[in-house]
């Protein structure tokens, strides 16, 4: 069994707490979640819908429906799983309204707990993506890999344990035998070092469509 097949659980995050704030009235907290999941939701929808022009509209609709239903979200489940379902249902509704046939069969859309990216690895590459965007993604990926490799070992390890092993700060502190504050600092410094190199590329890419 290759490592690509093994689902990588997303690490613990602040989604549930942000939802709580949003329900209490802080709309900006909801927007943080939108920023986090916009592309993932769009990617998901684009696999269901042939017409890529519709994707942003369906994505908007998804987030609006999520916002309306926020109070129903049970903090015990993953927020993205819940959002995933809403996205799928919204896309289906759209398609029914437009009398389009879904491009992907129902069974391929079974929601999972895993991070969406690994699921994509199993399906055929989407035909909607332009060669340019694929290339751009590859370039960014490479820059991230390069910077990661160049980082001091303690910073790199901290980030990898966090993002790829999904360990909490407390758990990482045990691994390193250091205070939690140090873990927090190392993860931040690793992120910031990568961010500085990758952000100019990302911002250049901004505005490009599929």
């Amino acid at each position: 069994m290759s490592s690509a097949d093994e689902p990588l659980l997303p690490p613990p995050d602040s989604d549930a707490m942000l939802v709580e704030r949003a329900v209490a009235g802080d709309q900006r907290a909801f927007e943080l979640l939108v920023i986090k999941y916009q592309r993932r939701v769009e990617r998901l929808i684009s696999r269901m819908v042939r017409d890529t022009d519709l994707v942003p509209d369906i994505a908007q609709e998804t987030f609006i429906r999520a916002f309306r239903a926020l109070h129903q979200f049970r903090g015990d489940a993953q927020f993205y799983t819940w959002l995933y379902r809403i996205a799928v249902n919204t896309a289906k509704k759209f398609l029914l309204q437009l009398k389009h046939d879904p491009t992907v069969s129902e069974s391929a859309l079974t929601p999972r707990d895993e991070d969406d990216e690994t699921f994509i690895a199993r399906t055929e590459p989407s035909t909607e993506e332009s060669p340019e965007s694929l290339l751009a993604a590859k370039e960014i990926s490479q820059v991230i890999d390069t910077v990661l490799a160049e980082l001091p070992e303690d910073l790199r390890q901290a980030l990898v344990l966090r993002e790829m092993e999904g360990l909490s700060y407390e758990e990482i502190a045990v691994v390193f035998g250091c205070p939690i504050g140090t873990v927090r600092s190392r993860i931040f410094r690793a992120r910031e070092a990568i961010s500085v190199r990758v952000r100019p590329l990302l911002e250049r890419q901004g505005g490009k469509r599929w």
Binding site: M17, R39, R40
Partner: protein, 205 residues
């Protein structure tokens, strides 16, 4: 002095990992929501995580236009009412006129009316929907400006703002008075709390 605390990238990093709690979380969430720099960090740091976990993911920052359009749409969403408490048996014939103190022209009992003649003070406000006024959430009450209340003895008539409902109910006022007199046990009670209540304290006696 600004209302917002500068949020450094380091806190965004801890925030996204779900490692902040309590007031530190509340403060960071508030600041991250407002600060463009913090939102940019939030976006980039998440993208880095996605890139590390997958070789074929879509690696693009969010679209600010998308969020701006969404914000506009959300601003037009009706504010959710609080979850309903246990439903109550409706009386057979809801009184259209006031209870006991009805002879006093100042008191009006509201049952299902959309707007009321309200006096200057002791106004309970309820809201059914907010029409675009509640940007960023939070009760619209705080954003309403005080009307011109030069002379309270003139039974001022205040038309409902949007769909707000104003009530003047002697019973509620009495409970409110009792809460202010006896119910204030806050550590901020002295002197601010007492003065606040003594200043507020209107009818209901």
């Amino acid at each position: 002095m600004s209302d917002h605390f500068p949020l450094h990238s380091e806190r965004v990093s801890a925030l996204m990992d779900g490692e902040l709690r309590g007031a530190e979380f509340a403060q960071a969430a508030l600041a991250a929501g407002e600060s463009p720099d913090a939102r940019s960090d939030w976006d980039t740091y998440h993208l880095i995580g996605v890139a590390l976990r997958s070789r074929t993911a879509d690696l693009r920052l969010h679209d600010p236009d998308f969020v701006a359009r969404l914000r506009d749409r959300l601003a037009r969403e009706p504010m959710r009412a609080a979850p309903r408490s246990t439903p109550v048996v409706q009386p057979q014939n809801p009184p259209a006129t006031a209870v006991p103190a009805a002879n006093d022209a100042r008191w009006l009992r509201v049952v299902g009316l959309a707007s009321v003649v309200a006096l200057a003070f002791g106004l309970w406000q309820g809201w059914q929907s907010l029409g675009g006024g509640a940007q960023g959430g939070g009760p619209a009450l705080a954003q309403l400006t005080a009307p011109d209340l030069a002379d309270s003895s003139a039974g001022a008539s205040v038309s409902s703002k949007g769909a707000t409902v104003m009530l003047r109910d002697p019973r509620l006022d009495a409970l409110l008075a009792a809460h202010r007199q006896r119910g204030s046990v806050s550590a901020l009670q002295m002197p601010a709390g007492f003065l606040r209540n003594a200043t507020f304290d209107e009818a209901g006696r």
